[in-house]
C-alpha cells in the first residue's frame, strides 16, 4: 500500500517527525530577529501571514478533504474589511485594527456559513464544491475591482490601521519591526497549536473518517454536513484573520489579494508542504515564495507558467507533497542508522 492510497484515518504514523519539524521551524523563526535587520523581519513576517493562509486551507483540504479554490476570497474579505472598517473606527483609538479584524472575521464567517450551508446540506461534495468556491473567488475579484466607490477599484485602498489594543487605561500600538514580527509569529503559533490540539483527538478522527467514507461516518451517527460546515466556516475565518493581519501590517490592500491566482498559489503552498500536516503548508509557503522571488528575478512573467507545470508534475510525481517525501527519506535514513 503506497502512502497516497492509505486511508486518512491511518495517516498518523509520521506524526512525531512533523512535531519535531514544527518545533525546529518555530524555534528558528523565534531566533530570526537575532540575525536579521528590520527589512529581513518584515519579509519573513509577510511570508508568515501567507503561511497562516496556507494553514487555514490545510485545515479544510488536508483535514476534511474539501478543496477550495476560493480561499483568497476570504483572505480578501479580511483584508478589505480591515482597510474599510478600520479607518471608520478611528474613534476607537488603538482598537481600530481590532474592530477591522473582528468585522472581517464576522463577514467571512457569515459568507462561508451561508454558502456552506446551502452547498453542504444540499449534498454538494468533492469537485462540485470546488468549482463553486472557484466562482466565489471570481465574483469576489470582480467586486474588488468593480465596486470602486468602496473598494478603491484597481488602485486599492490605503490607510488600514496598524495593530493595537486598548483596554481600560492600558493602550498599546505596535509600530516597530520586532514587535510586529513577534505578533505575527505568536498568532501563527497559537493557531497551529490550537488546530493541532483540536484535531489530534476524537474530532480529528471524525473528520478523517468523513474524508475516507462519508456514508460510513453518517451511519455511525455523525452529522457529517454539520461537521464540514463548521470546518469551512472556521477555516474561512482563519483566512480572513490572515487577510486582516496582512492589511494592517502593510496598511494597503489591492485587488490581487482576492484574485483567483492567489487562491491557486495557496493550493501550491499546501501541496508542497504536504496536506494534512499543518506545519507543512506553513513551511511550504516559505519554500515556494522564496522560489517565486528567485524565478521572478529572472522574468516575472514566467512564474504562472512555473505554477502550471508544478500542478501537472505534482499530480503524477508527488501527490502527497514535496516535504513529506523529504521527511520520509530522513526517517528511512535514521531507521537504517539505528538498525546498524
Amino acid at each position: 500500500m503506497t502512502a497516497s492510497t492509505l486511508p486518512a484515518v491511518r495517516r498518523r504514523a509520521g506524526e512525531w517527525g512533523w512535531i519535531g519539524l514544527a518545533f525546529a521551524f518555530l524555534a528558528l523563526l523565534a531566533c530570526w530577529p537575532l540575525w536579521s535587520d528590520d527589512y529581513g523581519l518584515s519579509v519573513v513576517r509577510d511570508i508568515l501571514v501567507f503561511g497562516l493562509l496556507a494553514l487555514s486551507l490545510d485545515y479544510l483540504w488536508g483535514k476534511a478533504g474539501v478543496l477550495s479554490f476560493g480561499h483568497a476570497a476570504f483572505f480578501g474579505i479580511g483584508a478589505y474589511s480591515m482597510a474599510i472598517f478600520g479607518p471608520l473606527a478611528a474613534g476607537a483609538g488603538a482598537n481600530a485594527a481590532t474592530v477591522g479584524l473582528l468585522a472581517g472575521l464576522a463577514i467571512a464567517a457569515a459568507v462561508a456559513g451561508l454558502i456552506g450551508y446551502f452547498l453542504l446540506f444540499g449534498g454538494v461534495r468533492g469537485p462540485y464544491f470546488t468549482i463553486v468556491t472557484l466562482a466565489v473567488s471570481l465574483v469576489a475579484q470582480h467586486i474588488a475591482i468593480g465596486w470602486s466607490e468602496v473598494t478603491g477599484g484597481d488602485a486599492g485602498l490605503i490607510g488600514a490601521p496598524p495593530p493595537g489594543l486598548e483596554i481600560g487605561g492600558f493602550s498599546v500600538l505596535l509600530f516597530d519591526a520586532a514587535s510586529l514580527y513577534y505578533l505575527v509569529l505568536v498568532i501563527v503559533t497559537a493557531v497551529l497549536l490550537g488546530l493541532w490540539v483540536a484535531l489530534r483527538g476524537r474530532y480529528g478522527r471524525a473528520l478523517a473518517a468523513i474524508q475516507d467514507n462519508e456514508l460510513r461516518a453518517q451511519t455511525l451517527g455523525y452529522n457529517t454536513s454539520a461537521y464540514l460546515l463548521l470546518v469551512f466556516v472556521i477555516s474561512s475565518a482563519l483566512a480572513a484573520l490572515a487577510g486582516g493581519l496582512y492589511a494592517s501590517l502593510s496598511s494597503y490592500v489591492a485587488p490581487d489579494l482576492v484574485g483567483l491566482f492567489l487562491s491557486t498559489e495557496v493550493i501550491v503552498w499546501v501541496a508542497v508542504g504536504g496536506r494534512g500536516t499543518l506545519v507543512g503548508p506553513v513551511i511550504g509557503a516559505f519554500l515556494v515564495i522564496r522560489l517565486q522571488q528567485e524565478v521572478s528575478s529572472i522574468d516575472f512573467k514566467i512564474w504562472p507558467l512555473f505554477v502550471g507545470l508544478f500542478f501537472v508534475a505534482m499530480v503524477f510525481l508527488f501527490p502527497r507533497g514535496l516535504l513529506p517525501l523529504l521527511v520520509q527519506a530522513v526517517r528511512r535514513l535514521l531507521r537504517s542508522e539505528v538498525s546498524r
Binding site: L67, I115, Y117, F118, L119, F121, G122, G123, V124, G126, P127, Y128, T130, I131, V132, L134, A135, V136, L138, V139, H142, I143, I145, G146, W147, L260, T264, I267, A271, K301, I302, P304, L305, V307, G308, L309, F310, F311, V312, M314, V315, F316, P319
Partner: protein
C-alpha cells in the same frame, strides 16, 4: 416593444454563448466525472485560430471549420496524455487541468503578447426586427449556436456513437460488459467537447477582446450553467443557460455588473440546495 425585442435578443445571445461553451464541459463531467479546468482555454484557442486564419488571409468561414479541428486535436491529446490517468482521482484532475490552463495562458501570452489581437466577423451592419435594429452578426451567432446544439442532440439520440455515449454515462461497467470501448468513447466525447468550445471561441471572438486570459471569463459562467442545469444532460445545459443567461441579462439592465454576477452566484447556490443534481439531471 423595441426595448423588449432587444432585451430578448441580448438574452438569447448570452444564452447561446453559455450553451455552447458549457456543452462540452457538461458532457465530460457527466461522462467521466472530470472537471476540465482548461475548458475555457479551448475557447481562447478557438478565438486565436480565427485571428491567425484571418491574418494569413483566410476568411471567417474558413476559421469556423478549422477551429473545431484544432480544438478536437488538442482535446484528444489532453485526454490521452493526461486526463485518462486521473479518472479515479477527480480532485487531482482539477489540479492537473488547472495547471494545463495556466500553461496554455502563459504560452499564448508569451507568444502573442498581452495586448488584444484582431479578429473580425464575416459581415457588419444590422437587421431590423419588429422595429428594433439589431447587429446581424449576433443573429448569426444565435443561429449557429442553436444549430450546434441541435446537431449534438441529433448525435446523442440518433447515432450509434450517441447510444454508446449515453450507455457509458449511465453505467461505465455495464456498458463495458456489453462490448463498448469506454476509453475510446471517452476520448471522442472529450475531443468533441473541446471542438465545440473552440467553435464557441470563433463565435465570440468578434464581440470581445481576444487575449490570452479570456478563457477564465467563460469558465465560471459555464460552471454555473452545469451546476444549475445538471451535469451530463443536454436539456440540463439548455435549462441552465436559460436561467443563468436570462437572469444575468435582465439584472444587467437594473443593477451594476458586479452585483448582477454576485446575484447570479447566490441564485445558483440556492438552486443547488433544493435541486442538488441540477434542474434537469442526466
Amino acid at each position: 416593444m423595441q426595448d423588449v425585442v432587444s432585451l430578448v435578443l441580448n438574452a438569447l445571445t448570452l444564452i447561446s454563448i453559455l450553451m455552447i461553451v458549457a456543452l462540452g464541459l457538461a458532457i465530460v463531467f457527466g461522462l467521466m466525472n472530470i472537471i476540465n479546468m482548461a475548458h475555457g482555454e479551448f475557447v481562447t484557442l478557438g478565438a486565436f485560430t480565427l485571428s491567425l486564419v484571418q491574418s494569413l488571409g483566410g476568411s471567417y468561414w474558413m476559421a469556423l471549420v478549422i477551429a473545431p479541428l484544432v480544438g478536437a486535436t488538442l482535446g484528444a491529446i489532453l485526454e490521452r496524455g493526461l486526463i485518462r490517468f486521473l479518472y479515479a482521482r477527480p480532485l487531482a484532475a482539477i489540479l492537473a487541468t488547472w495547471g494545463v490552463s495556466l500553461i496554455v495562458q502563459q504560452v499564448l501570452q508569451l507568444t502573442f503578447g498581452a495586448a488584444p489581437i484582431a479578429a473580425s466577423g464575416p459581415f457588419e451592419g444590422s437587421v431590423k426586427i419588429l422595429g428594433a435594429s439589431y447587429p446581424a452578426y449576433r443573429l448569426l451567432l444565435i443561429a449557429l449556436a442553436f444549430a450546434t446544439v441541435a446537431f449534438v442532440i441529433w448525435v446523442m439520440k440518433r447515432t450509434r456513437f450517441g447510444l454508446d455515449l449515453r450507455a457509458v454515462i449511465q453505467s461505465r461497467e455495464i456498458a463495458q460488459t456489453l462490448g463498448i470501448d469506454a476509453g475510446r468513447i471517452a476520448t471522442l466525447a472529450f475531443a468533441g467537447g473541446t471542438a465545440i468550445a473552440a467553435l464557441a471561441g470563433v463565435l465570440v471572438a468578434p464581440l470581445t477582446k481576444v487575449i490570452a486570459l479570456m478563457g477564465a471569463n467563460y469558465l465560471a459562467p459555464s460552471f454555473f450553467v452545469v451546476i444549475v442545469g445538471g451535469a451530463g444532460s443536454l436539456p440540463g445545459v439548455i435549462a441552465g443557460s436559460t436561467v443563468v443567461g436570462g437572469l444575468e441579462t435582465v439584472l444587467n439592465y437594473q443593477v451594476p455588473v458586479t452585483l448582477s454576477q454576485a446575484l447570479v452566484l447566490i441564485t445558483a447556490v440556492i438552486i443547488v440546495r433544493f435541486r442538488p443534481r441540477g434542474l434537469i439531471p442526466a
